[in-house]
Amino acid sequence: MASTSKDVPIVTIEENPPDDLEPGACYDSILNPTDSFEEFASEMSSSLQERNISLAAINSTISEIQSEIGENSAQIKTTKSSDDLQNKDESISASTSNSNLIEQNGDDTDNEKDDYLQTPELVNKEKHVFILSSAGKPIYSRYGNEDKLAGLCGVIQALVSVVEEQNQDILRSITTKDCKAVFLVKGPLILVAVSKSNESETQLVLQLTYAFNQIVSVLTLTQLNRIFEQRRNYDLRRLLSGAERLIDHLLIFMEKDPAFLLGAVRCLPLPEKARENITSAIQSTCNKIRDLVFAIMLAGNQLITLVRMKKYTLHPSDIHLLFNLVRSSESFKTAESWTPICLPKFDSTGFLHGHVSYISEDCQACLLLLTVQRDAFFPLSQAKHTIAEKLRRSNCLVAINDALNRNEELPTTNPLKHIGIPEIRHFMYKCKSTAQLFTSDPISLDKLQDYRMRHKVGGDIMVKKIEKLSDIDYVRNYRRFCSSIHCTSTPAKLIFRSNSSDTILAWVTNGFELYVTFDPLMEKDQAIKAVDRLLKWIKKEEQRIFIMHAPTF
């Protein structure tokens, strides 16, 4: 969605006098504050026809905006729920091959493929993700060898098609006692998540959409559609080879980072002055470079600054894809790279060209300079060196390293200690208007490092009780509250829940979303007071925690 800053709804801000701004809010945002949940919920409630229309119209930004308006108004319409479907036509189960497949399992115990579904690499995983073409050809599987899953892909394609063609409807999910299968048909691809976790259907659809966007980011939507228009039997793995790694990492990333859950971006907490210096170093170096659209500096999946061409903002989900790209590409560390990148929300039809490099050997901040010129490597490389030099001279590299190494002296390194409310175990705060996120225990770099180790192994359902909860575990607990708050039919504003292990408060207002975990015996009024102090602290530190300006070239 290549929205202009004109599109950015700053209505919420204008309504309030400046002093009442919620922590982290500012007049101009670098990010599109789109509520990703509403977006996916509307994806889920659109009917087959609407889906086809919106896909057909995706090419131009104008019609995209139009179709968006259409989608929003269509939210009231409900398509047949999956329950209806099950009752409606028993031929679904009869005419797809599921039953046959099972029968066959019994008959041929030495059948290689049937055995394969029972192998340790597939059984007992918390979540599977399968991607296939609408012809039923496998493209990606989170675990195992997708070639050997060709039979399963045939079954998935049959299930999806039977609902689509015989019932003129969309198969959204199948729920069994301990397992959810969620389906997303997007363009020429079918994406399926099979999950035993506590994630809601919407949350799983969101993850599948991200996986789809990751593929678009590699190919562009135009090319993806064109390929399958020309050859419906195309084996997309040929074009994606090497990109599976990006999908692997993205899926692991999404399990761990609440940024996806909330559709927000984490910022690296920095002293106000340091961030200003970094931004102006980039601005002063780049403002003469034509056609540079975005200059983005990031470190450890956190945004340091973003300078943009006037009129253009970025959607958090595009930034997440950039984080993922940097995170999963070891090669950026050793050399300056020049790479085509499609940012699906910005413009799914074409590539931006990115100069990607780490600032210096002694600082793990990565700079991306994104342009529409395909031969701008040398001027951008020159710009990067100038920027790096300026940052070194103004001691900004030290400031970045302090933040990355979580220097104990920074108040933002250990916020809970600094706030001084011992009953708070963990919190997560999203400023809605700027789509930025802060949590009390940001995932440290070390923990991110093991993303890479896990790759395609791991992911098994954990039986062992975890002794010390980390950010990731708290976030897992918030999922349920998050989906009650984002529920489209009866959204909750405030949830207070107490049990023997902890007390959780989830609160959403026009300006922010807040999730707090307290000790189990926390009283309600006590909790409210604590939250009050917490918000005051965030307000006080907002200049460090968040990016409060929206600089342009």
Partner: protein, 208 residues
């Protein structure tokens, strides 16, 4: 790492009910045969790896139901097929006569890009039985009249020609696949200042 170039072929098996589609597939994939008849409901999916000219090819075989009442999936099943195998029973002339309509049906539903050269293979099954009613000559003539479709006489029961037939299927489908190598053009530059994409309606053209 990227040189592994896997190939996966979608193969559809069509033909009247009872001609032995499932048996052929079972013989090919599992090396097994059963005299018991069990109607296929909807479709069965099996995969098998074969080696064609030193390339490892995964065949994703879609064994469809011959009975009309299970024929509802048409388009969805045929979509994106790499090869279509038409099977008839050499002891049952009506199953041979149906080949024409099976082939037409497939071409209409699947609407491949180049229908004249779409790889079909015809299998005359049950040649182990004594009561043969369709001669090899008659079958071959029909195949020739349809742009030289390869014809094999098979017995799923005695594993006659099954391996060979599927090898040919894989090879012919593969030949199609390698014919057209497209998508090397570098796609789609974003045009920031193009007036037709509506993004710059604000009229501010300054890119700096």
């Amino acid at each position: 790492m990227s040189s592994r170039k896997k190939v996966l072929l979608k193969v559809i098996i069509l033909g009247d009910s009872g001609v032995g589609k499932t048996s052929l597939m079972n013989q090919f994939v599992n090396k097994k045969f059963s005299n018991q008849y069990k109607a296929t409901i909807g479709a069965d999916f099996l995969t098998k790896e074969v080696i064609v000219d030193d390339r490892i090819v995964t065949m994703q075989i879609w064994d469809t139901a011959g009975q009309e009442r299970f024929q509802s999936l048409g388009v969805a099943f045929y979509r994106g097929a790499d090869c279509c195998v038409l099977v008839f029973d050499v002891t049952a002339p009506n199953t041979f006569k149906s080949l024409e309509s099976w082939r037409d049906e497939f071409l209409i539903q699947a609407s491949p890009r180049d229908p004249d050269n779409f790889p079909f293979v015809i299998l005359g099954n049950k040649v182990d039985l004594d009561n043969r009613a369709v001669s090899a000559k008659r079958a071959q003539q029909w195949c020739q009249s349809k742009n030289d479709i390869p014809y094999f006489e098979t017995s799923a029961k005695e594993a006659v020609n099954v391996e060979l037939a599927f090898q040919t299927i894989a090879r012919n489908a593969l030949a199609q696949e390698t014919e057209a190598e497209l998508y090397n053009e570098f796609p789609d530059q974003i045009k920031l200042n193009a007036n037709d994409n509506g993004r710059n309606r604000d009229g501010d053209n300054c890119a700096c």
